[in-house]
């Protein structure tokens, strides 16, 4: 029973992952126009705020842009066309997510480099799974003291 516990847990996790994947693959209902407008408003910067999107800001300029988004979607333009319209008017600055793919790669590469550095550090003398007792070292005293204290003897 105990031996089976982890395989069962992992099987359950995989099953859950499979269901989630199926949900993701299943074609989602096409977004309504209101959802499209909301999504666009979140991606556009409020021109006279510091860090807020048009969706969050309560300034007149933001309200104006929100209205224009709805009007343009009503007129049958696609979200891409609406976005392009605002970029043409204000420049790339209006987009809260820059168009350059560079901004996505940099953090990913940084984390991969970090993992790589530690993997290299580990290769110098690490093992995959402990098979014996830890070797005595400066930490052991502390560890023993801690265990003893936990037992409070």
């Amino acid at each position: 029973m105990r031996r089976l516990a982890l395989p069962v847990a992992i099987a359950a996790l995989l099953a859950l992952g499979g269901v989630v994947l199926l949900e993701l693959v299943r074609p989602a209902a096409a977004p309504t126009q209101a959802q499209q407008a909301q999504q666009l408003a979140r991606e556009l910067r409020c021109p006279d705020c510091q860090a807020l999107s048009v969706a969050e800001s309560q300034t007149a300029a933001a309200a104006n842009i929100r209205r224009q988004i709805v009007e343009q979607l009503d007129a049958g333009r696609t979200p891409e066309q609406v976005r392009a319209y605002f970029v043409a008017r204000y420049g790339d600055w209006i987009l809260l997510v820059p168009t350059s793919p560079f901004v996505w790669w940099v953090p990913v590469v940084a984390i991969l480099v970090g993992v790589g550095v530690f993997a290299w550090w580990w290769r110098r003398g690490g093992v995959a799974v402990a098979s014996a007792l830890p070797a005595p070292g400066p930490g052991l005293r502390e560890q023993v003291r801690d265990e003893v204290e936990r037992l409070d003897v």
Binding site: L6, A9, R42, Q50, A51, Q58, L151
Partner: protein, 659 residues
């Protein structure tokens, strides 16, 4: 007269800190106790002097002394006393004065507490702290003098920044944050002292851990209070906008948190020692970078005060600090070699190492996102924005991975785990997590973010619960204690471990609240005529009337408020307003928030038509938001529990030292 004395105090304070730095260095080299004592006294004097300067500024603000430029710019005769006092930190020069007060206060506290201990380290700790404080005194003596006078003297001042006088939270959030920021100089000073004296041993780590956790608690509380302020004041229904100054507060918090974890590995296993030193340096430098970014006008932000000449000063200080600290670190690299090889890949230290990779990854990503517009403008001249959608998409997966590690770390033993241990520790938590996700699904939750966070949080909580139960069980069996007593004793006798677990519980609470409030809320905008009713969720909201009148506490401020009657789970009258301040071009929203355990009803007035008497309201139902603040409080309390002095441990340490 009083402002002149304030200025004089600043100048003498500068001299005192410069003297203290020199005396600490001389005393450190010669070991002369009298010189060191005089250096310490010079630092206490500097603290007293800057306290007097702050007092002079507060008196000038309260007496509306418009001969002082700072007062003329940030105060008016109608400003209520409370906001006059807190205007001390409401603009650039005053905030640097306040910063210096806290920095020299921390320095004096540490120098006093360790006046008879750690004799080899303390002179260099003192020298570092004195130099840091001297820098801020110098900034006040030259580019950012808070006591600059102005003639002719105006009869009326400009009044405080409208945003900053709209909520009493301004009295709480900046002091907490500044206590956190300035306190991070303490671990840095100990780090420098350890490198200089080559005492990079476990004694050093124990002191630095404690003195990182103290400011860390304030930084945590300050960040959460800042988010709460943003939520309660700005009226956009959210609490975190990835504004540059929010990022600036988060960056040192992230590296300090990474340090709190990796220092345990350094202490227990004798590895990662260079790395922990680097984190201490990074944390301090990032507090300077944050100040530089938000105070120099390099990056635009809600909090950026006027563009000023301090940019070059801070940039130089950052470069010098970074250069000296890194040179010292490289010079001492041979002392910091790993004392033993890293343990197994499946071990507690590896969980901590991955924790550090992720914390540093998220720090880097946030720094990069904050600086990207500056970099683009400097290289191509084009303007760019990086906002919430980018930060959320990049950082959310990293924070989720960190939450996962919160559960993995405590379940794995130091050194390495066998497969049997892994099987024993993880099966039940994973099954519980999956079970909760399925149950939440069955109850109708369909969004991926809350489902995933429910599962992860359950996993983490069950891992920790299992740890507590096993520990308490063995205690109860061996000592015959009742279960609650065994848990209490277990926790109070292993404060560090169980304080840490409590902090992790707070993180889980925050994670669930953030995920739920971000995805399961309702956000509606509606324009109503007087008497009209709106239903939203379980609430019915009636817009009664529009009232425009001057504010009772400050008649220069004109408030237009929509009075509402609420029925539903909560009922009663409430009002949400727009306030026109004479020194603000746009009206300041004053949202009304009805908080309950399950959800907040949040109503803000977007606009109104004075002729038609209509009001445009934005209404949010934000679920679980109060649990974000509660979770933050649990985190801070957990850390406080961990560092609370333990009489038994102190007695043991004294006995060991005496033996």
């Amino acid at each position: 007269m009083i402002p002149t004395l304030g200025h004089l105090a600043v100048v003498i304070g500068l001299a005192a800190t410069v003297y203290a730095a020199g005396a600490f260095i001389l005393g450190g080299r010669s070991g002369d106790a009298a010189v060191l004592a005089s250096a310490r006294r010079a630092m206490y004097a500097a603290f007293a002097l800057v306290a007097f300067a702050c007092f002079a500024m507060v008196v000038s603000l309260l007496s509306h002394d418009f001969s002082v430029l700072y007062v003329a710019r940030n105060n008016a005769t109608t400003t209520p006393p409370f906001y006059s006092v807190i205007s001390l930190w409401a603009a650039l020069e005053g905030s640097i004065l306040f910063w210096t007060l806290l920095a020299s206060g921390w320095a004096s506290l540490v120098l006093y507490r360790y006046r008879a201990r750690l004799p080899a380290l303390m002179p260099w700790v003192g020298a570092t702290l004195a130099l840091g404080t001297a820098f801020f005194f110098a900034v006040m003596a030259w580019p950012s003098d808070p006591f600059v006078r102005v003639t002719p003297i105006g009869l009326e001042g400009n009044g405080p920044n409208a945003l900053l006088q709209n909520h009493p939270f301004m009295g709480l959030h900046p002091p907490l944050l500044y206590l956190g920021y300035t306190g991070m100089a303490i671990p840095f000073a100990f780090g420098m002292a350890a490198l200089i004296t080559r005492r990079t041993d476990e004694e050093w780590l124990a002191v630095v851990r404690r003195w990182t956790l103290v400011p860390w608690i304030f930084l945590t509380a300050g960040i959460v209070a800042g988010a709460w302020w943003s939520y309660a004041v700005l009226g956009w229904g959210g609490y975190w906008a990835w504004d540059p100054v929010e990022n600036a507060a988060l960056l040192p918090w992230l590296t300090a948190t990474a340090f709190i974890h990796s220092s345990m590995v350094a202490e227990r296993r004798g590895t990662l020692r260079t790395w922990t030193h680097a984190l201490v340096i990074a944390t301090f430098v990032l507090t300077l970078v944050g100040t530089f970014l938000t105070r120099s006008g390099v990056v635009n932000s809600v909090h950026a005060f006027t563009t000023s000449g301090i940019g070059a000063w801070f940039a130089s200080a950052i470069l010098v600090t970074l250069g000296v600290a890194l040179a010292l670190l490289v010079w001492r690299l041979p002392d910091l070699r790993d004392r033993r090889p890293p343990g197994a890949v499946v071990s507690r230290e590896s969980a901590f190492v991955f924790n550090n990779v992720l914390f540093l990854g998220v720090t880097f990503a946030i720094l990069f996102g904050t600086l990207y517009p500056v970099l683009v403008e400097a290289t191509t001249g084009a303007k760019a924005s990086v906002g919430a959608p980018w930060f959320n998409r990049v950082n959310a997966p990293i924070f989720v991975a960190l939450l996962f590690l919160t559960g993995v770390g405590p379940a794995l033993p130091w050194g390495g785990a066998s497969w049997a241990t892994v099987r024993e520790r993880f099966a039940v938590p994973i099954l519980s997590g999956v079970g909760v996700v399925v149950a939440a699904w069955a109850l109708g939750v369909r969004d991926a973010a809350p489902l995933g966070i429910f599962g992860l949080a359950t996993f983490v909580l069950v891992v920790m619960g299992d740890e507590v139960v096993r520990g308490a069980h063995s205690r109860a069996r061996s000592r015959g204690e009742t279960a609650p007593l065994a848990v209490l004793r277990l926790a109070t006798r292993n404060r560090r471990r169980y304080g840490g677990y409590l902090a992790h519980v707070g993180i889980c609470v925050m994670a669930v609240a953030i995920a739920v409030s971000a995805t399961l809320g309702i956000d509606r905008t509606a324009t109503l005529a007087e008497g009209e009713t709106l239903s939203i969720g379980p609430y019915t909201l009636t817009y009664d009337k529009l009232v425009t009148e001057p504010l009772a506490s400050d008649p220069r401020v004109i408030e237009t408020r929509a009075e509402l009657t609420l029925a539903g789970p909560q009922s009663g009258h409430m009002a949400t307003a727009l306030r026109d301040y004479p020194n603000s071009a746009t009206a300041i929203a004053t949202p009304v928030v009805r908080t309950a355990l399950g959800e907040d009803l949040y109503v803000t007035l977007l606009g109104y038509n004075p002729d038609a008497r209509t009001a445009t309201l934005r209404i949010f139902i934000n679920p679980l938001v109060m649990w974000i603040w509660t979770g933050g409080a649990i985190v801070a309390f957990g850390a406080l529990f961990a560092i609370w002095p333990d009489r038994r441990r102190t007695a043991v340490a004294a006995a060991v030292a005496g033996a």
